[in-house]
């Protein structure tokens, strides 16, 4: 019917470009045949196949054709639009064409990589191209809208990634909110003794940065705090942060720690979280000596006052006139507006209780690597002495690599840092105790600056390297020499012989995995997670710190396992991306917004309640009321468009005609026209 929608534009001149992507596409899809088909489609003036469309010459091809053939529509059949839509829009713009007259067809991720059958893959590619040609005919030139970027940044997580990102931004003069859930910043790195491969002291390099955060005028640091609500969009996020009470006021405390001394508990008797239960603390305690802020915290789960209300409150007394201790403190909610967010929430280590064959939690002398980090730490529970839970000093130690990693039953990925930290622990243990150290590895992975040299050094030190994955740890003695020891049964795969190796101490090199609450955070910020649960970057190579939520960046191990240098590098990159966003001041919005045909709208109000951004309102009061969409608020989901019962709302880039043309194009071969 002629009155439905737009008229088919006349004088359409389409150029179709089919990419080989080297062999990625061309090895499966017959790209020549696809181009051939395109040449025969109505409106197509030129159709080519080319090795790499995204390369400079490839883009130049498009620019040249626009000039030579007066093209006014472009279809590029290559990879996912998530990868190169921008590239080809730019190419078109450089050729003098409105960038929105370009449409991409995904014949790599959706075709050549998933359908090995050449004939059927080619058939599918042809149909998708035909659909795109039909669709692009309906495209119209569009202008981009701009949104302004609020200059403040939120950094979630106060480990080394968050600290580095926050400092970078703050040093550039930006206001940063740093939110940390624990009572102190520092993260996992604060727990380490030495860092590989240089063996410099973790505390020595981290502590100054922690203090710098505390002191920086541009950084607002909230510890014991969690993000509980996020609204808004890139440039204008509104974030709600809940600050759980510390019960000691940071603004009043001088850090004298007299309160801890004065606690009615004369001896520390509760497992110390920071030392992973290897030592004890009081109900009021400082998480660790270098904690930032240097303010004690009260744990209501163990404090008598909170449990029974009948404490003498000697801590309050000790604090005296300062009155920093506030047992009545309640959670406080902060609301901030920021333009961008950096997620640096880190990782958790694999819980080896999930692998009972390794005896963790069953045999006291089986340790996780993180526990050993505390054990060898000079400021740790034993002052750096390696003493077992039973008080003995180990004479032989087995370090099992890949615990929970590279395992389809648990975490299929390689955690990347375990080989190196196992070497480091082997070195430290050997150095401190002189014990025989056995490393059980599947593959030794030392790809980093100075890493292989470190491995070489360990070999020279006489540490045993046995290539084989330990099948089980037990205290089952088959031989008198094994009595009282933990026995590791393993095939030494280089010998091809099964060995039993008795040791005094077993160290489980536990892998890194996503934090158990990564899922909740992911929902809050509307970012995606990869299959294993780490935050998903926008592109693994080309956009490694961006996410699919614009303005939200990731840094550190929340994105995937990595070591400290990589974490810091990534945090710097995330900070730089955030800076780039802020300094641009505003960004272009995809012009895929919905709009109302005011003359046709009957103000039925179906759409109003559907918009999650309250972008739709009824205007026109007494005269002729109709709906109106505020393009600055519209994010382009198209829900109202689909709902409008009289077809009076439309959407740029996703017009009914475009989508229907695409459907028809896909199926054109079926119904015979």
């Amino acid at each position: 019917m002629s009155e439905r929608g737009q008229k088919l534009p006349s004088d359409v001149r389409v150029g179709v470009y089919v990419c080989h992507c080297g062999v990625n596409i061309a090895a499966v899809v017959d790209v020549r045949q696809v181009a051939q088909l395109a040449r025969g489609l109505p409106g197509v003036v030129v159709a080519r196949d080319y090795n790499y469309m995204c390369s400079d010459p490839g883009q130049e091809l498009i620019r040249q054709d626009i000039r030579d053939y007066a093209l006014n529509r472009i279809v590029v059949a290559s990879c996912s639009p998530h990868l190169h839509e921008e590239t080809f829009r730019h190419a078109a713009a450089a050729g003098g064409l409105n960038p929105y007259l370009v449409h991409m067809v995904n014949i790599r991720e959706h075709v050549s990589w998933v359908h090995p059958d050449r004939e059927r893959a080619t058939e599918k590619a042809c149909e998708l191209v035909r659909a795109a040609v039909r669709r692009v005919v309906w495209h119209e030139p569009l202008e981009q809208a701009r949104v302004s970027i609020h200059p403040d940044v939120l950094v979630v997580g106060g480990g080394i990634a968050g600290i580095h990102a926050a400092l970078t931004l703050a040093n550039a003069g930006k206001r940063v909110y740093l939110v940390e859930r624990q009572p102190s910043i520092g993260g996992h790195m604060a727990m380490f003794d030495k860092t590989f491969p240089t063996l410099d002291c973790a505390a020595c390099i981290l502590t100054p940065k922690m203090s710098a955060v505390q002191a920086h005028p541009n950084i607002t640091l909230w510890t014991l705090a969690e993000v509980t609500r996020v609204e808004g969009y890139v440039g204008n996020y509104e974030v709600e942060i809940t600050r759980w009470p510390r019960y000691v006021r940071e603004d009043l405390c001088s850090g004298c720690l007299k309160c801890i001394e004065a606690c009615v508990y004369k001896d520390a008797r509760f497992p110390d979280e920071f030392n992973l239960g290897l030592s004890k603390r009081k109900p009021i305690y400082l998480p660790f000596p270098q904690a930032v802020p240097q303010v004690p915290v009260i744990d209501p789960a163990t404090c008598i006052q909170f449990k029974s209300g009948k404490c003498k409150k000697t801590c309050v007394e000790a604090c005296g006139e300062r009155g920093a201790i506030d047992l009545q403190a309640v959670p406080k909610v902060e609301r901030v507006r920021v333009g961008s967010v950096i997620l640096a929430t880190g990782f958790q280590t694999f819980d080896p209780r999930r692998m009972p064959e390794y005896g963790y939690g069953i045999y006291p002398n089986v340790y996780t690597s993180l526990e050993v980090e505390r054990l060898v730490n000079a400021s740790g529970p034993t002052g750096g002495e390696i003493v077992l839970r039973d008080g003995r000093r180990p004479q032989s130690v087995g370090i099992i690599h890949c615990v929970g990693s590279r395992d389809r039953r648990h975490n299929p990925w390689c955690s990347r840092v375990c080989c190196m930290y196992s070497l480091k622990l082997a070195h430290l243990i050997r150095e401190r105790t002189g014990a025989e150290v056995f490393n059980f590895y599947i593959d030794m992975r030392t790809p980093g600056k100075g890493f292989e040299e470190f491995y070489q050094r360990l070999l020279e030190e006489g540490v045993h390297f046995i290539r084989g994955r330990v099948a089980g740890v037990s205290d089952w003695a088959l031989d008198p020499s094994e009595e009282g020891k933990l026995v590791l049964r393993v095939e030494d795969t280089l010998l091809g012989i099964v060995r039993r190796i008795p040791v005094d101490m077993v160290v489980l090199a536990v892998g890194l995995e996503p934090r158990s609450d990564a899922e909740e955070l992911r929902r809050l910020f509307r970012v995606s997670c990869s299959a294993e649960g780490f935050f998903l970057e926008r592109h693994p190579k080309l956009a490694p710190v961006s996410t699919f939520a614009e303005g939200v960046f990731v840094a550190g191990c929340c994105q995937g396992p990595k070591d400290i240098p990589d974490t810091v590098a990534q945090a710097g990159a995330a900070a730089a991306e955030a800076l780039a966003l802020i300094d641009r001041g505003s960004i272009e919005q995809e012009p895929n917004t919905a709009y109302v045909l005011a003359d046709h709208c009957s103000a039925c109000r179906t759409c109003v309640s559907l918009c999650p951004y309250s972008a739709i309102s009824i205007v026109g009061g007494d005269g002729r009321p109709h709906a109106e969409i505020n393009p600055a608020l519209c994010k382009g989901c198209g829900t109202c468009v689909a709902a409008c019962p009289s077809g009076s709302i439309r959407q740029h880039l996703f017009e009914d005609e475009q989508i229907v043309a695409e459907i028809e194009g896909i199926l054109a071969g079926v119904a015979g026209g």
Partner: protein
């Protein structure tokens, strides 16, 4: 010479013809202005008379009703040949109308139902209509009952549509006037305003800005507040999806709109769009609960395609 016009009816109830009569005295000037050469319901003209006319000699043919039989098809083809303009009058001709609901069933089932199963039928031999019948050596012939109901436009080219079940006399008069004045719009137009009924609804002001529905009530089940928006009260009203021009007759009668004026100009499929708008405002996010709420719509096809089943996308003739 006065322009010649013809009226014809196909599968319809006759209501559209009534609408012509409902013009009352206003019909007189029309009769003054045109010469009616064919109008089976009112005048005794034969098919041969029409056949005898030269092709294109009629200024317009006003055809109501959907197409179900061979006779209907032959007649509309004939009229198409003779007429310069063809008007699809009423919902049946435009969209298929109530008779179009027969498309939910196949032909055999319908014949079986009507001639055998209905309790009031006495038909021990189970005789069903067939095209040819011989009776005492005489060959009798009946029009063929096609397999489905089609809209007029699915059989012949239609120039204008007058929507409604039936179209209002005012719309009819207006169409004739435009024909005489030569002020008809572009061919293919629907001769009614191109916005939804809500625009002209007397209860427009009572519509809440945020329209949500938690249950569906049917008009016979509850009292209908005559002042408030039907949807806001939970009555399934198709006003938001239906083309205006009817004068909100049903609403004035305190009944919800059932969609006889069909879709607005930008909608490809009335039922799908009406369903989409309605389902979107149901206040639930839970599949089970949604199923429950939608039980309040016992017959979705009959509700959303009450007047338009034959014009469902994909049922239409691919007209080029």
């Amino acid at each position: 010479m006065k322009p010649k016009v013809a009226f014809y009816w196909c599968a319809s109830c006759g209501g559209c013809e009534e609408a012509v009569l409902d013009l009352g005295e206003d019909v007189l000037p029309v009769l003054e202005a045109v010469e009616i050469v064919f109008w089976p319901v009112a005048l005794d003209w034969k098919r041969e008379d029409v056949e005898a006319l030269p092709d294109g000699s009629l200024a317009a043919a006003f055809i109501n009703g959907a197409i179900r039989t061979s006779e209907q098809e032959e007649m509309v083809r004939l009229l198409r040949r003779k007429a310069q303009l063809v008007f699809a009058v009423g919902a049946c001709a435009q969209l298929g109308g109530i008779p179009g609901l027969a498309n939910l069933f196949d032909r055999e089932e319908i014949l079986e139902q009507v001639y055998v199963r209905v309790p009031s039928v006495v038909n021990p031999e189970g005789i069903k209509p067939s095209c040819r019948w011989s009776d005492g050596g005489r060959q009798l012939e009946l029009p063929e009952f096609w397999e489905g109901v089609r809209t007029l436009a699915q059989v012949v080219e239609v120039d204008y549509a007058l929507p409604g079940c039936p179209p209002t006399p005012a719309l009819l008069a207006d169409a004739v006037q435009r024909l005489l004045n030569g002020t008809l719009p572009e061919r293919g137009s629907v001769l009614a305003p191109d916005h939804a009924l809500c625009q002209d609804c007397p209860r427009q002001a009572s519509k809440p800005d945020s329209l949500v529905v938690r249950e569906f009530k049917r008009p016979h089940q509850a009292w209908i507040d005559p002042e408030r928006c039907m949807l806001a009260q939970g009555f399934l009203c198709l006003g938001p999806a239906t083309r205006s021009g009817c004068g909100a007759r049903c609403i004035h009668g305190n009944m919800p709109c059932t969609g006889c004026f069909g879709p607005t100009g930008r909608v490809r499929d009335f039922g799908a769009k009406a369903l989409s708008g309605l389902a979107s405002i149901v206040a639930s996010q839970d599949e089970k609960e949604l199923e429950n709420i939608f039980r309040g719509i016992p017959d979705p096809a009959g509700t959303f395609y009450r007047y338009s089943l034959p014009s469902l996308i994909g049922s239409r003739k691919a007209q080029s």
